[in-house]
Subunit: 180 residues, 2 copies
DNA sequence: TGTACCATGTAATGGGTTACATGATTCA
DNA sequence: TGAATCATGTAACCCATTACATGGTACA
């Protein structure tokens, strides 16, 4: 495993960044499919530096503040490229507390189950609306060799995922109502 | 957190089981939304026993083999029921190595990207076929108060999820072809 | 001058996987 | 009698989160 490593290398393959920038990227551009806290990123950058896959230069911001501006090394690019071309076996199905709850919901009254389903649907509907807003920021489909095109594809994936969740939850609600 | 605890309590709320049975259940009925290895389950059962939420009786199978047959206690039922009725905040988006890879795929040749997308589509298509087989085992929709109805709902969820994945991957493949 | 944000780290803890370790039962 | 499966556990390690800890910069 050790996928975080490649997330970082992939970002640095595009441009020089600080640990803080990488942390920001996890909260924004990578948000839909990866995440990491700064407490994980800084140690990882340290070990990548020791492994010779990245390097840094100190930059002074303002008067005193030292920023470490990281860049990828040729060895790092090589490692990233190998990973990028490899077909990785999917890890098991993601854990989902809501589905676990629903799986055991024959043990609670029907109205309570409907309440849980309704709340879940509301959350996904809201999330879907946000994603549609993000999609509307695109001015047409970017060209395929542009990294904006990748942004576009993963955003489409997030939208289809949320749509499927909403669709499923609506079906469940209908079924519960029809069969009670 | 500590959701595994409730997965176990939920199973024991239905029937008495051994640690091994619980382990099996994780690989089968819970597979679509939860999983745990036996090395995690046995210690958890120990701590649940210490907390008074479950208890066990020794059963002899064959001549010698001692099985621990666990059952839920009233306190355990209480704890499970509280969890079951609570609306839990969803943990962040699940990590997805493929999407990470796709996000960085502007760095590789177009044919390679299409190959990755094709392989991923194939895997999801196969998985979808399996799930449809599982659905066909149902003889109509079970009544809403039956635990088979819960099985049915989570299976529908798994199917919609896979359908969305296939749909998305097909869209990506089309887009890549159209814009190259 | 205060607040939001930029910037970097470590420590403790929890959750989870892999590997180690053992032995009984069932059925062909 | 051998293989698949049932059955229970521990140890080492890895990944990740929360909390601890510090301080500078930009801007209103």
């Amino acid at each position: 495993m050790g996928v975080l490593k490649y997330a970082i290398l992939g970002l640095l393959n595009r441009q020089k960044m600080t640990g803080y920038d990488i942390s920001r990227a996890c909260d924004t551009s990578l948000f839909e499919f990866w995440n990491a806290k700064h407490s994980q990123i800084y140690p990882e950058l340290k070990s990548l530096t020791e492994a010779g896959l990245v390097e840094y230069e100190i930059e002074i911001a303002g008067n005193v503040l030292q920023k470490k501006l990281y860049s990828i090394t040729p060895a790092g690019r090589e490692a990233f490229h190998t990973w990028e071309l490899t077909r990785h076996k999917p890890r098991g199905v993601p854990k989902d507390e809501f589905r676990l709850q629903l799986f055991f919901s024959d043990s609670i009254p029907s109205e309570q189950r409907l309440a849980l389903l309704g709340a879940e649907l509301e959350a996904h509907t809201e999330r879907l609306a946000q994603l549609h807003d993000d999609l509307n920021k695109f001015d047409g489909i970017p060209p395929a060799d542009d990294c904006a095109f990748c942004d576009y594809m993963v955003l489409l994936g997030a939208i289809k995922r949320e749509e499927a969740s909403c669709d499923w939850l609506e079906t469940c609600i209908d079924l519960c109502r029809a069969r009670t």
